[in-house]
Every structure is written in structure tokens, then in C-alpha cells.
């Protein structure tokens, strides 16, 4: 059973590797640039993938667009703007920080802060109150008992 799993995993790795290698064009420098921009863009067909990682037909087409635009001398920002104009800001894999996304960016830190406050409060509550001095008779008794033990 284990062996089968390992074989399957290795087979999958082989397949994945083969697919990664395919889109390399004749110009590796240009291709690296295409991929760097493609990694900033979300594939709308398979939304959790970037255009660089996706094998959907639309992703292939959009990579082609990026390649053409780079060859025409457009900058990364121009290409990203081109995509946002057509597909909306959702296409950006890293959403810009602005008023409509501050909760998205700040939310995790807000939660972390709330959790820390909660933690501190619960630790404070649980701490044993500082021990008051024993009443005299009890202290006497304790001393006697301790003394007996020693002696």
C-alpha cells in the first residue's frame, strides 16, 4: 500500500515537472519576465491559481498577451492595468491596499490583537492572589508542625 502511494506521488511529480517545463519559449529572459507578471495575476477559471501556474486555456491566452505586450515594450504596470481594466481588481493576486480592502489586510492583525488581549486577561484572572500573611495562631501551628518534622 505504502509503496503504491510512493509510486503514485513520484509519478505525479514527473507529470507536474513535465508540465512546468513546457511553456519555455525561445527567449528565457523574456519568458522569466512573462512568468513574473503572470504570478501577479489570478486565473479566473480556476480562481486559486495564478495565471503562471494554471493550465486553463484562458491562462495560456493571457500569458500570450503578456508576452506580446512585453515585446511591444510595455511595462509591468501597464500590463497589470490592462488586465484590471478587463477583469477587475479581482484579477490581482495581491490585492492593493486601499479603503475597500483595509479589513482584508488588517483583519488578521486585528484578530491577533484581540486574541492577545484575551490571553492577557485570562492569565491575569487565573493568577493566584498574592498570599496574605497567616493569622498568628495558624502560623504558630505551622511552625510547630514543621519543627516536629525536622526534630
Amino acid at each position: 500500500m505504502h509503496r503504491l502511494l510512493i509510486v503514485l506521488c513520484l509519478a505525479w511529480l514527473g507529470v507536474a515537472g513535465a508540465q512546468e517545463a513546457r511553456p519555455m519559449a525561445e527567449d528565457p529572459v523574456l519568458e522569466a519576465k512573462v512568468m513574473r507578471i503572470a504570478e501577479e495575476l489570478r486565473c479566473l477559471v480556476c480562481q486559486n491559481e495564478t495565471i503562471a501556474a494554471s493550465h486553463a486555456e484562458l491562462a495560456v491566452d493571457l500569458r500570450k498577451q503578456i508576452r506580446q505586450k512585453l515585446q511591444q515594450g510595455q511595462s509591468q504596470q501597464q500590463i497589470l492595468d490592462f488586465m484590471v481594466q478587463r477583469y477587475g481588481e479581482f484579477v490581482l493576486y495581491r490585492p492593493p491596499v486601499k479603503s475597500s480592502t483595509w479589513l482584508l489586510w488588517g483583519g488578521p492583525f486585528l484578530l491577533l490583537g484581540a486574541a492577545l488581549v484575551g490571553l492577557v486577561m485570562s492569565i491575569r484572572r487565573r493568577r493566584v492572589p498574592a498570599s496574605e500573611p497567616l493569622p498568628r495562631d495558624e502560623a504558630e501551628r505551622a511552625r510547630r508542625l514543621l519543627g516536629e518534622e525536622k526534630g
Binding site: Q47, L58, L62, E89, F90
Partner: protein, 174 residues
Amino acid sequence: MKRYLLPLLVFAVMVGFLGVGLKLNPREVPSPLIDKPAPAFSLPRLDAPDRQLALQDMKGKVWLLNVWASWCVACRVEHPLLVELANTGVVPIYGLNYKDKRDEALVWLGRHGNPYVASLIDAEGLVGIDFGVYGVPETFVIDKDGIIRLKHIGPVTPEVLRDTILPLVKKLNA
């Protein structure tokens, strides 16, 4: 009793968020093109590839642009509805034949009926990219000035047609 109040509150808020999340459809990405001029195009007609049809040719009328392809399974679902709509003559439907082969597209129209005034050949899908198409079928409502007023992603259902598209067409024609 009080110590359970806070976890319960947190739980209720989470249920609220997750409940809303369940109702949202992540496949429907709002288009930035709504209320913007439709991207210009000039494409060969499917029935007569030597003749071009351009955005300017549609000026002055409210029309639907339906993105379709013979390889698109979901297109077959909405197709009878489009044929029916075309028969009523309420609004002209133009097709954008997206990344298709011409002969296969013609066979498909022959088999399922042709609701389109004309279909445009977008073999490379470039006009599709300009319209922000990411899933076929998609349907756009474009007004007399060439402004995109609605984008519907996925098959047009009788409900969408009755409750959204037709009222909008009526309003734009008024």
C-alpha cells in the same frame, strides 16, 4: 452562564459570516466594464467571413452580445431560450463565436437553431479578452450609445431573462 456568552457570541458572528459566504457565488466576478463603453471590435461574420461587423454598426439600438462556442456544453442549456427570445423580436442578439472552428460552429447552429442576427468570429479569443470573458457562455446587454449595461456569466435562465434582462432592455429602449 456569563462565561459562555463570549464564545457563543464569537460562534454566532462566524456562523453569520460563513452563512453569507455560502450564498455568494465566487464564480461571478463583478465586471469593471459595467456602465463603460464596450471595447471596439471589427470581426468577420460567421456566415460571411469576407464581411466585417464592427461595434459602430450597432449604434442606435439596444442589443445583446452572447458569447458562445460549439465546444461549450453550458451554451446548449441556454440556447433554446435564446432561440425563443429571437423569435419574439424584442431585442437583436449578436453572437461572439469564441475560440471555435468555423465549420463546427456552423454545424452547431444548424443543429440547435440560430438565434443570432449575426455571429462574429473571434478565433483567437482576443475580443473575448477585451470583454473580460472568462467563462462561456456570457451575455452582455449593450445600450444605444454602445455602453455595457449588464454582464451575465453562465447560461441565461428563464428567471434572469424575465427578471433582469428583459426589464433592462425595455428601460433602455424607452
